[in-house]
Symmetry: C2
Subunit: 282 residues, 2 copies
């Protein structure tokens, strides 16, 4: 591909996904990573961090809806939530749709990501302006240690297990997240693709089960075309054993029908794992 026209994410120098762009809108180097924003004909605006697709206007609704609503559906009348990572504000924008929340904290290590997304992705980041939302720019792995039995919901909206995201894949962090949950609370972790990152997926689920308990950590799936492998996983964890596949969405009917991916049937279907995914974690 001509590097002046195409943005390419090469995955482990073995596969690559490229999007043709019409303009590069932004480029900066923060203390943590390289931040770029492109305008593209087919994916809309695209945010990349250290050369990896993070947000696209075309398909990020899947990620943001699917990290958020399956978790909120587990809790009746959720009051408090913490999002670790997720500086694009997309998960926050989904959370603020619930009037019940009184406190929502975003802890993103890189202020540069937040400001780029406020500027170039105003719809995706719009929830950051909600008066219930507090934005903290700190290391999430350290920040979460400040809390004991505080949150109904914690969303770990991490990047890959390299660079600034690495600490969010360690047992110590998982224990801290568990301790920061109220009894009955739910933590939801981004856990990579079972296709191209099968080992990371399997190891992360195994580690989460060792911390939360074998009946209290369950992966589910969705599809994000701009991410390597496309079949993407989250792993839902709770302070007590739970059947995560049975849930009732707390959103009003009008709000549910405004979503683009999630609904009650999608929730149940997402927990159904193809045989090869089951084998990876059994």
């Amino acid at each position: 591909m001509n590097e002046r026209e195409w943005f390419t994410e090469a995955f482990e120098n073995k596969t690559a996904f490229s999007v043709k762009y019409s303009r590069k809108l932004y480029e900066s180097k923060s203390a943590f990573q390289k931040i770029e924003v492109y305008e593209t004909p087919v994916m809309g605006k695209v945010l990349s961090l250290d050369g990896c697709f993070m947000v696209t206007e075309k398909d990020s609704f899947v990620y943001h809806e699917m990290i958020t609503h399956p978790a909120t559906a587990m809790i009746k009348q959720p009051q408090s939530a913490l999002v670790i990572g997720g500086g694009d504000g997309g998960a926050i924008t989904e959370l603020v749709k619930y009037p019940e929340f009184k406190k929502i904290i975003l802890c993103e290590i890189d202020e540069g990501v937040i400001s780029a997304c406020r500027e170039f992705f105003p719809e995706i980041s719009s929830g950051l302006a909600d008066p219930r939302v507090e934005v903290v720019c700190e290391d999430g792995a350290a920040y979460v240690k400040k809390f004991q039995q505080e949150f109904d919901i914690i969303l770990v909206d991490s990047t890959d297990p390299v660079g600034p995201g690495k600490a969010l894949y360690e047992l110590d962090f998982y224990n801290s997240v568990k301790n920061a949950l109220r009894s009955g609370g739910v933590a939801n972790f981004q856990t990579e693709s079972p296709f191209f990152m099968a080992n990371v997926f399997a190891d992360t689920v195994k580690n989460l089960r060792s911390v939360f308990g074998p009946q209290s950590a369950t992966p589910y799936l969705c599809v994000i075309p701009s991410y390597p492998g496309a079949l993407w996983s989250f792993t839902m964890c709770s302070t007590e054993p739970k059947d995560f596949s049975i849930a009732s969405c707390g959103l009003s009917g009008e709000c549910v029908s405004s979503l683009n991916y999630y609904n009650a049937q999608v929730h149940i279907a997402a927990f159904v794992l193809p045989n090869f995914v089951q084998k990876l974690i059994s």
Copy 2:
């Protein structure tokens, strides 16, 4: 990407998926298309037709299982099947797992695809050697017109609606397929990605519903990372209204557990459509 090391499929010159290869194993130009086979570190062997990924050892099991088993699960004791397209033999290899079939016909327009797959994808194409299988190298759109109420199952394993695959997206062909089905029979069509080919997907489902009836043509989904958009659809059609999402797999338990993607729960979940897909076809 360096063209000497990477095989790239550019989709409408807007996005591209590339795989690094170690060797090009085969290249030929048939009467219909350019056929290439690459050895790649991450996707195993890859077959491309006119520059598009068709088969990879890494992920084609999804396609072959998901075009076949949801359809066979609809029919008790299926006797006869016709596969149109599908020269790689992958769907045939899934069909021959059912001892009930007496007659299975593969009608592939391009003999070059069949011979390349016999040589380079012996596992995927192994079903072609089953004594119940007849291989016909003809235009599928013309061939299917020879039959009236003949088949329990017809699988339309087509390429994209350009080049040799174009005739397999026309109303006349859909009518011919319907006429070739026995009463109660099921036809299953490859219907592209609702992400990147939303219009083709929506138009094809609409056209199939106009031929088979609105209650007799229902799309379902799976995930194929090497195809553009990754979220992939098939549309199941029958001679009479049917709830396709309720099915019992006719395979023995041992055979089901040898599959890598499909199981009874995956069948049900595949028919659950995300909101944006529902909106495309409503």
